[in-house]
């Protein structure tokens, strides 16, 4: 009996080691590259949620890029070697940080045959990126104008210094030009091309059947000679994770990204030789599973209580059981995928329930007659499966150190409203999604003064003047090294003060049929253009 269990445990670990070893996967990719490329065929991709706006210039979300990244291209993309020129071929910044100059690729045509020029970039930057694109509108708040000295040069003028590093890091996600001739003079939000995109990418939009699929076909006029390999890509919307797993097994779908099947099925597929399972290709899309505190509650406003609660969470156990090993313990707001801006030199909180209990006693919260120290109302993000399990584990773990947690379940608008507008919660859990640079969407979790009703920002009633000053200073620092050092300090302070517990860092996971080749070969592969993807017939 014990033997079987042990054996199962070892097998599990072995499977994980295999899947987590990036090196091994790269060897596999290299091997594929040498095989004879087969042209043609239709790749079917699973999407768990339906994206209705198919315009990355209007909606910054991985779900949108997953489809439109093949149809519309950004100025700059990211590869494992660094930043890769796409529609922009060169970039440079002035010493004062006030202008950024881009050289644009020549001979590129939109799918309708019109030439791509600087006018498109200027229009997109001023009308969409600055005004309408979520996250980008904060980033480009100081953008004054975009000049076009010639059709293939774009000059971005800022009123305050814009670090070139930040600009370039943001471009893969927040730098998709739209065709000016189709958007100018229209109501941009209701423009018909928002749901029938026209881009410069390797695939042309064909049709979008609501609730079912989006289809794109090969762009014969693509600027990369000889690409793409595939004839067609279909994105199928399958909301239920068990149904998605069945579709993969039945061979109806070749890839499911962003953890589109349950974590238990991820593990099962990792032992199935028809599939490759891994976290490659998500280096740029990392998320934290969080525990968020409402500091308006006087108990939780006590730092010692928050620290004690962190000691009460067995993060390694949660990683093993809930995430099936595909995760690591969080080390503050910046994930280990954050490159130079990340440090692990921060205070950490080992699992120690006895210490947790002792600290809670010291903080003045002994166990009362009803068996609990205090009661908390917890709002879990309704993102399903492992987010739900994490909420239930949190409640379970808190009970063990004498804190009663009542879980209040709502649908998504109810959850977002309850936490980020009404502040009607004690604790909450959900995701913090890191977007390649801490300035894009991470610092708003810590900076005070965020307007009410803005999800995934500091709505926790936490205000720390020192932290605010540190964040502001880092935002306008142009020197890469100094900037990184400042973010290291921010991380350390966050881990000390614990306004939020960034408990588990998890990359996303893809399950891919071995019939697909050249996949997951860039750090934001699911969002990239797939011009070199091919299918074994």
């Amino acid at each position: 009996m014990t033997f079987t269990m042990k054996q199962a445990g070892t097998m599990k670990q072995a499977g994980l080691a295999l899947a987590m070893t990036g090196a091994l996967s790269s060897v596999a990719f290299a091997a594929h590259a040498e095989e004879e490329v087969q042209k043609g065929g239709t790749a079917v991709i699973h999407m768990i949620s339906e994206q209705r706006i198919l315009n990355p210039g209007l909606r910054a979300s991985t779900g949108v890029y997953n489809i439109t990244g093949k149809i519309m291209e950004p100025l700059i993309d990211k590869s494992y070697e660094g930043y890769e020129p796409v529609l922009a071929t060169e970039w440079s910044g002035s010493d004062d940080g006030l202008t950024i100059t881009l050289k644009l690729r020549e001979g590129v045509r939109w799918h309708d045959g019109v030439d791509f020029t600087c006018d498109d970039v200027a229009f997109s930057a001023m009308e969409l990126w600055k005004k309408l694109l979520n996250y980008s509108s904060a980033l480009q708040a100081n953008l004054e104008s975009v000049d076009c000295p010639d059709p293939h040069t774009a000059v971005f003028n800022y009123s305050k210094p814009m670090p070139l590093e930040l600009f370039v890091a943001a471009m893969p996600d927040l730098g998709h030009p739209v065709p000016k001739h189709l958007f100018e003079g229209t109501d941009i939000l209701k423009n018909e091309y928002n749901t029938a995109p026209v881009g410069t990418g390797p695939f042309k939009f064909v049709e979008y059947e609501r609730g079912q699929y989006v289809m794109a076909e090969k762009n014969e006029d693509y600027w990369r000679e000889g690409y793409p390999y595939l004839d067609r890509i279909v994105w199928r919307f399958i909301k239920d994770k068990s149904a998605a797993a069945a579709a993969l097994e039945a061979g109806e779908v070749q890839e499911s990204g962003f953890i589109g099947v349950s974590m238990a099925d991820v593990e099962r597929f990792s032992q199935d030789d028809r599939f490759e399972v891994g976290t490659m290709g998500y280096e740029n899309n990392v998320a934290h599973s969080t525990v968020e505190f409402n500091h308006r509650n006087p108990i939780l406003a006590d730092r010692k209580v928050r620290q004690a609660m962190y000691h009460g969470l067995d993060i390694d156990y949660a990683i093993k059981t809930i995430m099936h090993g595909y995760a690591k313990p969080g080390r503050g707001p910046i994930p280990s995928a954050g490159g130079i801006n990340y440090t692990d030199d921060v205070p950490i909180y080992d699992y120690d329930p006895e210490l947790a209990k002792q600290m809670l006693d010291e903080a003045g919260y002994p166990v009362l007659e009803d068996g609990y120290r205090f009661h908390l109302r917890h709002r879990p993000a309704p993102w399903g499966e492992y987010t739900q399990l994490w909420a239930e584990y949190y409640a379970q773990a808190m009970k063990e150190i004498g804190i009663d947690v009542e879980i209040l379940t709502n649908d998504a608008p109810g959850f977002l409203n309850g936490v980020y507008r009404d502040h009607d919660f004690d604790t909450a859990n959900g995701w913090h999604q890191f977007r390649s640079d801490p300035a894009v969407s991470t610092m708003v979790w810590l900076r005070s003064g965020q307007p009410e009703g803005t999800p995934w920002t500091n709505q926790f009633g936490w205000k720390d003047e020192e932290m605010d000053a540190m964040i502001d200073a880092a935002a306008s620092e142009l020197d890469v090294e100094k900037r990184a050092a400042m973010y290291h300090e921010i991380q350390a302070r966050e881990m000390e003060e614990l306004p939020v517990i960034f408990a588990i860092e998890h990359p996303f996971i893809s399950v891919t049929s071995k019939k697909l080749h050249n996949h997951h070969n860039t750090p934001r592969w699911n969002s990239s253009s797939w011009y070199d993807l091919w299918l074994e017939q």
């Binding site: 099962r268 059981t321 399903g384 399990l389 909420a391 239930e392 409640a395 009542e406 209040l408």
Partner: protein, 291 residues
């Protein structure tokens, strides 16, 4: 039981004996009774089987059944004991079934009785409201109610009751319409008995048998609705409920099927028991059906 009192039939055995004789004639109904007793027993003994919190970590996560006698039916993804979940889940299911049914029957009886007894514009208005409720798909209405108040078990139960009252209302109305002009009602009215009294003391008891039978249908549907909510991740995770167990077990359906299958069987048997019970009651309470 005014009607029964007036029709004196001395050679008949006592009512409950007659009732039982009619009931047990249906062997399927006996099976239903047995299963129902089993569920009640599980609900009553949950605290004895496992005195602890059914949601606590009881062992290594995803231990298969019959591997460890501390957790004989295995554990789920968070190490929660499946056996204890099934027993405590019986409490929640019965609670949801009984309370939701009571809510539905009370609303249905009041509206149906008023409409059927008074007729005229009262009937018109109440029936229009009933039709409005019947037109909105009840599960969509349930989802909307849960969206409003969140997924607390108390509210889920009441909301299930709120979406289930239209059928009993129509049945009560029909019974009242056929009974309101009977002699015993007219007699009571002539004696100056108040409307409330006539409705609740005279007519209602005679209108009850079909309602009692229909109650079993609502109980069965309530449990299924709770499990469907849990499937859509709108259950109340603060309680071990069978719906929640299957809802989460579905994620491990292929690698640890027992997590979903065991509570699934519990739901099937319980809903089956309510339905069979209903059949038996129907045979026993409906004297027109003889063999």
């Amino acid at each position: 039981m005014t009607l029964a009192d007036t029709e004196i039939a001395p050679p008949e055995p006592p009512r409950y004996v007659m009732f039982w004789r009619r009931y047990k004639r249906n062997r399927a109904a006996l099976l239903g009774l047995f299963l129902f007793a089993l569920v009640v027993l599980m609900a009553l003994t949950a605290g004895i089987i496992d005195p602890g919190d059914p949601l606590r970590r009881a062992g290594e996560p995803l231990t298969p059944p019959f591997m460890n006698w501390d957790t004989p039916l295995g554990t789920d993804q968070l190490g929660r004991d499946v056996l204890s979940g099934v027993f405590y889940g019986a409490r929640i299911s019965l609670l949801i079934g009984v309370v939701a049914t009571l809510v539905a029957i009370v609303i249905g009886v009041v509206i149906g009785a008023l409409a059927g007894y008074f007729g005229g514009w009262v009937d018109d208005v109440l029936m229009r409201i009933t039709e409005a409720f019947q037109t909105i798909p009840n599960f969509v209405l349930l989802l909307t109610l849960v969206a409003i108040m969140g997924s607390k078990i108390e509210w889920i139960t009441i909301a299930i009751g709120i979406v289930s009252w239209t059928a009993p209302a129509r049945m009560v109305r029909a019974e009242f319409m056929s009974l309101r002009h009977r002699e015993f009602v007219d007699a009571a009215r002539n004696l100056g008995v108040s409307n409330t009294s006539i409705i609740f003391r005279e007519i209602l008891p005679n209108a009850m048998p079909p309602i009692v039978v229909y109650a079993s249908v609502i109980m069965a549907l309530s449990i299924l609705m709770e499990s469907a909510l849990a499937f859509l991740a709108l259950g109340d995770p603060n309680y071990a409920s069978w719906g929640n167990m299957i809802g989460q077990g579905r994620a491990v359906l292929r690698s640890a099927p027992y997590c979903a299958v065991i509570p699934g069987i519990a739901i099937i048997l319980t809903v089956l028991s309510f339905s069979l019970l209903g059949e038996g009651l129907n045979d026993a309470l409906n004297p027109r059906q003889k063999k």
